[in-house]
Structures are given as C-alpha cells and as structure tokens.
Symmetry: C2
Subunit: 141 residues, 2 copies
C-alpha cells in the first residue's frame, strides 16, 4: 500500500485480514464485520477502502446475481465463477479449467474472456437434467 502513498491503518489491515482469510467473495457489510471490535466501523469507510484497495490490486469484486457486489482478495490466478439461473448455485473454478473455453472464445470471437467479474451463467448440471427444455427466462434472484 505504502508504495501507492496510502497509509497503513488498522481499519485497512483488518479489512485485508478478513478478505484474505478466505477465498469466499463477501459483501461490503461482511467485510465491515471484521472491524466490529475496532473502536468503530463505518460502511462508508469500508466502501472507500475497498475502492482504494481495488485500485492498487489487492482486492477485486464480482457480481454473482442480483444482490450487492461481492469482494474478494485479488491474486495472481483469480478464481472464476459460474452461477445457475435456476437454483442460484455458484460454482468456483480454477482459471485453468476454463482454458479451453477461453481458447474457443479467442479463436471464434477474438475476445479474451475472463469470468472473474461476471460469471458464466446458465444451468448447472442438476437443473439442466431436471428441467425439460427450460426456456429459462426466469432468473433466480
């Protein structure tokens, strides 16, 4: 952080601790809970800090559905996501599992796809099996 002219405050330290303690994406609110012991916490500051930490590449965020944005620790090979439009299930995969998918997209469309910010959405294997031909226009909130 220091390299970016940022100070190392307890709040920021605690936030990073919370975020780096797991791979699970969490809401700003959940990150704030990591500060509940500290003198005081405040969502506004948490949002401000999440933004700063994201700018310097220590944190990133994902949109996995209709809820609030989710924050995750950033890393060299960030995990990628899939969400089921029917049951809402979220699957997490290591980037290499999508190498082939990325290759096909690159070849056929010329885009360098990443599913770290928006997930691959569709039907998970279970719902796919259960549901008939599923027009699937209803999305699991």
């Amino acid at each position: 952080m220091r390299e970016h002219g940022m100070r190392v405050s307890t709040a920021r330290r605690l936030m990073l601790e919370a975020l780096y303690a797991t791979e699970e994406p969490m809401t700003a609110e959940q990150v704030a809970e990591g500060l509940r012991d500290a003198p005081r916490s405040d969502l506004a500051s948490v949002y401000r800090n999440l933004e700063r930490l994201e700018e310097i590449g220590l944190v990133r965020h994902v949109h996995l559905g209709h809820g609030p944005g989710l924050y995750v620790r950033a890393g060299q090979a960030p995990r990628e996501y899939l969400v089921c439009d029917l049951c809402g299930r979220v699957a997490t995969v290591e980037p290499h599992e999508l190498d082939e998918v990325r290759a096909v997209i690159a070849r056929s469309l010329g885009w360098a796809a990443r599913f770290t910010h928006f997930p691959i959405s569709g039907l998970c294997p279970e719902c796919r099996a259960k549901d008939p031909l599923s027009t699937v226009e209803r999305s699991a909130k």
Copy 2:
C-alpha cells in the same frame, strides 16, 4: 397477456411498443419515456409491469455493467452479449455464434451456458491488442 389473467392497459401496450421497437437493451427509465405522452407515467408502475411482462416471457433483462438493469424484448433466440472490461464496449451476437463455446462448456463443465443475462466479459479485440499483458483488475464502470 390475456392468457395470464393480465389486462391489456395502454401503459403496458406502450411499454411493449418501446421495447419491441428495438433490439437495444434499455433502462426502466427509458422504457418509461415511452409513456411520457400518456396521462402520466410512473417508474413504480413501469417496474411492476416489467416484472409481470418478464414473468410471462415477453421481456427479459440483462446486466451489462455497473449501471441499472437493462430490459429487452424477449424472443425465441435471444441475443447474447460481450462487454469489454477496459473500454466498456458492448458486443451483441446471435446465439449460434456461441454454439461452439456452449458446446465446450457443456462438455468440460457440464453446464448449459447462456450469455443473455450476464455477458461474457473480458477484453475486446482492440483492447486486447493495445494492452500489454493487462492484469486487468480495473473494470470500466
């Protein structure tokens, strides 16, 4: 609509006219503008109706970035989207253009992917070329 016990009001007719006049996804606010001539309009009603129309399959919605949700007319073969994390560009493709991508995802992961609700996000051909190795953690708002 009638088949679903819904009444055919002018508001709804106008909303559908606005939505079916283009393939472009639009915000609830933009849909509401289609009613500006009518006696009065109201965003609350527009949202209520968009929800109903979505339930009966005449409308669907997409999330293409950080902004508000976008509504589009629903159809047999709904278009699918790609958005660039850097320049924000949105590309629209016909479903068949993604058949191979879908096939690979189905084979390797077992999911039936659709990019009608969440786009494929990543780097468009241009940004991909310009940007070096782009860690790309900053996403175009």
